[in-house]
Subunit: 426 residues, 4 copies
C-alpha cells in the first residue's frame, strides 16, 4: 500500500486555514523577537530519521505480548510501512535493517522498492544476542566478548556478513549492540571480556569498507542483570578510540542509569568528535522503549539543544545517524512511530529557536536566571506550525496521525496482509 | 519596599500590544477547538501559592553556601519580599512561616503588615530537626519518634506552641516534616519509632483547634541516610488515618525515590480524601529543591492534570494548601520564586486545557494514541498568554521577571537593607 | 526421579568430620558469647519455603531465551523436581502452583504424589497478565482493574476458579499479582482503575473459603512502563484493608524502586498485622529475579532481622507464606534454587543470632556504634555449620549442591525426560 | 594523647585464648581446602589506609549538625587522633590533608610529630568548592572550569600551592575533587567548561614534581544538582589521558548513580593502567558518606576482588592510594573510623581468600553456579581471626573498638581538649 499525493492533499485541505493563521502568528511573533523562521523550517524539512525494520510490529515483554493486526510479514511490506510513514511525515526517509531478521533474497528488487518509496538504507544492525537456528556455536556464554574462540569468531564473521549485506543495499555504517554480560558476580572475568571485545571490534573495523563507520552502542543492563561488557559511554568511547577514526559511540536514550545527564554525554562526545549515532525513545524506569517524547520531553529538548550546538560548532564530529528505537506494546506501531517522529521534530524545532549567541552572553554574565529563561522560552513556544510548514513544503501531511486515521491506513493494511501476520523481530 | 500600581502599569505598557495579539490568537484557536478560555483565565487568577519564609534568602549545601545580597533580616522584611512577589504575580498571596525562625514579637503589627500587602498566613511549619539554643533536650536521637520521653514531649510541645503562634496569625493548618530516622542498620527499632510517632502526632492532633488541619509530610531520605520514620506516602497515609479526619498527607515533589510515579500517588490520595498539601519544587537526583518546572515540566503538568481532576471529582478531599519549597543556591531568591510561580501557573493552565470528557471517551475506547495526543496537545500549547491575562486581570505584571528587573527591585532592597544581611533559615 | 536416603547418606559421609569440627567450634564460640545454638538449629530445620512451579525451567528476557536440558514437561515432573530440592535441603517442603500453567487433571494423583514427596501446596497463583488461547476477553486493556466489564468479570472468575483448584489440593491462600497498568500518561484513569481493582479484589475475597487468605502483591513497573495499578506497599495495604481481615500485602524483594528501604516496609506491615507473604529473589537494577542473596546478602539479612523480630513480637501478624520467585537464565534451575535456599537459610540463621535484648539495650543507650556491631557480628559469623546441622537433623544433604552434582541428578533427569523438553511458564 | 604498647597488651590479654582457638580452627579449615593463611595475614598487615584530616570531627547535613565532644582543634591534635587509630589497628598509617583547612605553620614540627606516630602523608587535597575569607575571586561560578580567567587562575594557583605544601610534608600525590557544575539547564556551556577544565588540569599537572601523581575524582551530582563537570569515570579518564602518564582516575565509592557496577569500572581502569586512588565509604541513596561496609558489604568485597585481581595482574597500574572518606553525623568519629578500617580489612581478607585459579577454571567451564559459589564461599567465611592476627603481628589491638572503649580514649580526649572544640572541615 502506498499513499498518493492526492490523498494527502485532500487530507490536508480542511486544516490549511488554521495552519496559515497559526504559522503567520508565530512567524510574526518570532520575527519581532529577532528570530527568522525560514531557516528553522528549512532545517526541519531536511531532518531525516531512520525507522528500524523491527519496530513495525507489536513489541512485548518477558511476560508476554499482545499482537497487533496487519503487521508486515516480509521485508517488502516493512519498506511499505516505512514508505507510508515517510509519505506522511517527510522525515522518515531511511530504514535501518536488522540481520538476520531482514536478510534480503533479491537485493536489486529491495533497492528498487526502497528507491521508489524515497527511502535510503541507514546503519545496518547485527544480532549476536540470540542463537539462530542451525548456528554452530551458541552465544549463551558471550559473543564478541566470548572466551570461546568458536563463538567469538562466529560473531565476528556474522558482523562482517552484515556489512556485506549492507553494502549491497547502500548502507554506510554498522551498528553493534553487544548484549554480552553476566547475571552473577564472578561469572566471567571483566578484563578478559573487555580485551576480547576490543579485539573483536578491531577485527570487524578492519573489515569495514573505507567509507563505512562503526557505531558502538552501550547499555548498563538487560538482558544481563549483573554486568554488561559495554556498560556506559566511557567504555564505548574507549573501544571506539581503540578501533580508529571511523569508529564512534552510539547513544540510545533508554540505555542509562537513573538520573543520568545524557545531554552532557552528548556534548562531551561531540567535542571529542566521537558521537556517531543516536537512538530515540523514551523511558521512565529503564530501557522501556516508549514513544519518543512521551515521558520526558524537556530532557529530549535539552539533548537536542546540545546536538544543535554540536552540529554548528563541532566540525570534528561526523553527521549523525538518527534512528527511532522504540517498542509498541499497546499501540498501532505506525501510529506510535508517527507520534515519535512528531516529538523529535518538535524537540528539534524548539532547539533551533534557542538564540545561541544570547545564551552565550547570559552564560558569560553568569545570569543563571536568564539562561534558564532562554531555554524555557524556546521550549514553551508552540512550534507545531513550524513542523507543519516543513512537512507541507515537502508534500507531506499537515497532521500525519490525523491523515493516517482519516485514510484508514491500518484497515487497508489488514485487508492486504491479513489480520494475524507477525513481523519478525522481538 | 513595595511596588505601586503605577510602577506596574508603566512596566506593562510596552508589552500590551504583543500580549493582546497572542491572547486573541490563542483564544480564537482554542474556541475553534471547543475550549472556552475565560474559565481557564478565571481559575488561574484565583490560584494562590504560599511562599515559605525560609525561601527568601540564599540556600546552601553541606559543602557551603554562596551568600546573596539584600536578604530580608526580619520577619517584616520577609513579608515585604512576599508582598513584592504577590504584587508582580498576583498568585503569591500567602506566606508560610517556620518556627522558631520566624516567631513574631508583635503579632498585631505582623498581621497588619501582611494584610496591607494582601497576604494570608497559610500552613505553619514546626522544626524538630535542629537543636535550638537553650533547648533542654537534644533531637540528636529523634524528636516525635524518640524513645526518650523528654525529647519527645519537648517536640510535641513545640508543635503545640507553633499552633498557638499560627492561631494568632490566622493560619489554619500545621505542617509537620519529621526528619527523624537513622543512618545505620540497627540504630533504632522501626516499630517502636513508628508507634511513638503515631502517638506523638495524635497528641498534636488532639491539641489542634477544631478548624485546623494537620499535614504530615514524607520523605525517603536526608538528613538521615539509612531510614526515615515517615519514608513514603503509605506511612504518612497510615498516620493520617490514625490521627483522624482532619489529618492529611502532604506531598513534596522532591521527596521521592528515583522514577516514582508521583501523579498516581496524588490521584490515590485525592480519591481517598487524604491529600492535604503540596510542596512545589523540581529535582533531577534527590531532594534538590530546584526551581519548579526547571527539570521536569511534563511531570509537573501530569501531576496538575491529576490535581485538576481531583479538584473537580473528589469532594471528599479538602482544598489544598499549595506552597513552593525550593532553595536558591545560585540565583536571586526572588527571581527564582518568580520563575517557580510562572512554572506552576503554566502547568496549571495546561492541565485546565485538557478536555476531561474527551479524555474519558478516548480512555473508554482504549485509544491509547488519542489519550496521549490529548495530553500532549494541552502541553504543547503555548499558554503564556492565558497566564499573562490572569495576572493583568488582577493588576499584576505582564512579565513579572521583566518588571522585577526593570524596576531594579534587588538594588532597592540592597539599598534599604544593606548588602550582607542573612535571612534566618538553612 | 527421587533421591533415596542412602544416596544422601553416602554423599554426606566424606564431609561429616569437617562439619563436626566446624559445628563444635562455632557452638563453643557462640556459647561462650551467651548464645544457645540448639534453638537456632531447631528454627532453621522448621523453616519451609515454597518453590514456584514456574521456576523449574529456564527463564528468559524479552530479547530471547537460552533453553536448558531436562526441564519438567508435566506437573508430576515439576513435583519431582521440588521433591529433589526438598530431599536435599529439607527446607523446600511446599510448592506454589500457577494457574493455568499447572492445572491438574487428576487431583487425587497429584495430591498423592506430592504427599509421597513430603510436599504441601502453598499459596496458589492466578494469571491475568496474559491472554489464554480461547479466552473470550483480552487483558490487553486490563484485567481486575479493567473498565470493560467483560474482561474484569473474566479475571474475577479466573481467580475464583484458581481458588477452587487450590482447595482441591490443600492450598490455603491465593496470591494475586496484578500486572495491570499503563505505558503512557493519560492512557487510563488512575482513580477509576483503583476503584475497579478494589471492587474486583473484594469480590474475590468474598469468594474465598473461610480459612483462606488473600495476598496482594505490588510492583512499581514492568510489564507496564508508565504506571502500575498496585505500584507500592501503600496501595496494596489500602486494598488489603478494604478487603478485610484475611487480606494481606505480599512483598516481593525485586518489586521496589531503586534504594527502597524494604526492611522498614516489612516492619511496618508486621506491626499493622498485614504482612502475608514473601517472595525471595535478588536484583541489582529492577525485577531482575536473580538467585536469592547473590547481589545484596546484607540487605537480605536486615530484612530477616525484621522478620524474626516480627515473628517474635507481632502476634497480630499471621504466619508468613515464603516463596522463592527467581528466574534462571544461565544456570541449571535446580542448582539455582539450591543456591537460593542456602542463601535464605544463611540469612535466617544470622538473624537468629542477633541478641534482640542486647540490641534493644544498645538502642536505648543511643549507642549507634554498638547497634551496628551487634548486627555485623551476627552477619560476619560463618553460620554454615548451623544450616548444615539443621539439614542433617532432618535427613537432608550436608552440602545440597555438592550432592546434586555428585549424584548427577541433571543427567538422570535428561535421561528420563529427554533433552529438549520445555517447562510451561515464562 | 598516645596509646602505649602496654595499654594495648593488657587490653588484648583477655581475648587472646579465644583468638588462638578461632585462628587455629580457621587456619586448619583453610589449609584443608588448600589455602595458605600466612600470605593472607601478611598482606593484611601491610595494607595501609589514609585517614583524611577532615573526618576527625562530626559531620553534618544542610539541615544542621549535632556536634561531638573532644574534637581535635589543631593539626597536631588531628595527627594525634590518626595516631590513636593507627596504634589500635596498625592499618591507618597515613594521613591525607585538606588545604586550606590544615595548612601547617611549622612544617618541621608537623613532620616530626607524624613520624613519631608512624604516620606518612598520603595524597593531599585542594579545595576550590568554597570561598575562603579574603579570596580575590569567588568560585560561585566555577573554579577550574570557570570561564572567568581570574577565578580559574586562582584555582590553578591554589592547587599548585597545595602541591608545595604537600612536598614539604612528603606527600607524593594531589587529589583534585572538582565540585564545579550547574544547578539549571543552560546555566553554562558544557563544552567550554570541559575545555577549560582540561586546560586547568594540564597546567596543574605541568607544575607537579616529577615523582608526583595527579588524581582526578569524579562525582555525578552534589553540590550541584543539574550537571557536574567531571560527572563520571569516563570524563575523569579522558582528562587523565589528556594530562599524561602520571594522571589517574580516583574512585570514591559514593560518587555513582544508583545501581552502578563499580567493580567493573575498577577493573577497566586497572586494565588501562589508570586507577590511581580509592576513597572508601558506603551509601544507600547518594553520597551518604556512611561507615565503610555498613550498608553494602558484599559490593565492597566484589570491588576488592577486582582490586586484588588487578594488583596481581596489572603491572601497568600504579600502587593505589587508599583513603577513607566518610562522615560521622551520629557517632564518635574515631569509633566510626575504627569500624570503617575493620570493614576494609575484612573485605580485603575475603578477597584474598578467593582462589583466582579455581575461579578462572570455573569461568572457562562456563560453570556459573561454581563461580558464584567460589565468591560466596570466600565471603561467607568468618575472616575476623585473620584480621586480628595481622593486627597482633604488628603490635595493634586484638579488638580495636573494644580497646578504644576500655581505655576510655574519648574521655581522655575531652579532658585534654575540652568538650566544645570543633574540628575544621565540613
Amino acid at each position: 500500500m502506498q499513499l498518493t499525493k492526492d490523498q494527502l492533499l485532500s487530507a490536508n485541505e480542511p486544516g490549511l486555514r488554521r495552519h496559515e493563521s497559526d504559522y503567520n502568528h508565530l512567524s510574526d511573533k518570532l520575527s519581532e523577537a529577532g528570530v527568522a523562521v525560514e531557516p528553522v523550517v528549512d532545517a526541519l524539512s531536511k531532518f531525516q530519521v531512520a525507522i528500524p525494520s523491527w519496530a513495525l510490529g507489536a513489541g512485548g515483554t518477558r511476560f508476554g505480548r499482545f499482537s497487533f493486526h496487519g503487521e508486515p510479514g516480509t521485508l517488502e511490506q516493512k519498506l511499505d510501512d516505512v514508505g507510508i510513514l515517510h509519505a506522511l511525515t517527510q522525515t522518515a526517509g531511511a530504514v535501518s535493517l536488522h540481520i538476520p531478521w531482514d536478510t534480503p533474497t533479491d537485493y536489486a528488487a529491495v533497492r528498487e522498492h526502497a528507491a521508489e518509496l524515497g527511502l535510503a538504507f541507514d546503519a545496518i544492525n547485527s544480532n549476536t544476542f540470540q542463537d539462530q537456528p542451525g548456528a554452530v556455536h551458541s552465544y549463551r556464554h558471550g559473543s564478541l566478548s566470548a572466551t570461546d574462540e568458536g563463538a567469538r569468531q562466529q560473531a565476528i564473521e556474522h558482523n562482517l556478513r552484515v556489512v556485506e549485506i549492507g553494502e549491497k543495499l547502500g548502507s554506510k555504517s554498522l551498528t553493534v549492540w553487544l548484549a554480552d554480560g553476566t547475571n552473577f558476580p564472578g561469572q566471567r572475568n571483566f578484563q578478559r571480556n573487555l580485551v576480547q571485545t576490543e579485539d573483536s571490534l578491531r577485527q570487524i573495523y578492519a573489515g569495514l569498507p573505507a567509507d563505512w563507520k562503526l557505531f558502538i552502542e552501550y547499555k548498563p543492563y538487560e538482558p544481563n542483570f549483573y554486568s554488561t561488557v559495554i556498560q556506559d559511554w566511557g567504555t564505548s568511547f574507549l573501544l571506539a578510540n581503540a578501533c580508529g577514526d571511523r569508529a564512534f559511540t552510539l547513544v540510545d536514550l533508554g540505555h542509562h542509569l537513573p538520573n543520568t545527564n545524557i545531554e552532557q554525554i552528548v556534548s562531551t562526545l561531540m567535542l571529542k568528535g566521537k558521537l556517531g549515532g543516536f537512538h530515540f525513545n523514551d523511558s521512565k524506569y529503564g530501557d522501556d522503549d516508549l514513544t519518543v517524547g512521551s515521558v520526558k520531553p524537556y530532557a529530549l529538548f535539552l539533548i537536542f539543544n546540545e546536538l544543535v550546538y554540536g552540529m554548528r560548532n563541532n566540525p570534528q564530529n561526523p553527521d549523525l545517524a538518527w534512528m527511532i528505537d522504540a517498542s509498541h506494546n499497546v499501540k498501532d506501531p505506525l501510529e506510535d512511530l508517527l507520534q515519535s517522529l512528531e516529538a523529535i521534530q518538535l524537540a528539534y524545532a524548539r532547539a533551533l529557536l534557542v538564540d545561541q549567541d544570547e545564551l552565550a552572553t547570559a552564560q558569560g554574565d553568569h545570569d543563571v536566571v536568564r539562561c534558564q529563561e532562554i531555554l524555557q522560552n524556546a521550549f514553551r513556544t508552540d512550534v507545531r506550525p513550524l513542523v507543519e510548514r516543513a512537512r507541507l513544503s515537502r508534500g507531506g501531511a499537515l497532521h500525519p496521525l490525523g491523515a493516517y486515521r482519516q485514510l484508514d491506513v491500518r484497515r487497508e493494511l489488514v485487508r492486504e496482509r491479513g489480520k494475524h501476520t507477525v513481523a519478525t523481530g522481538l
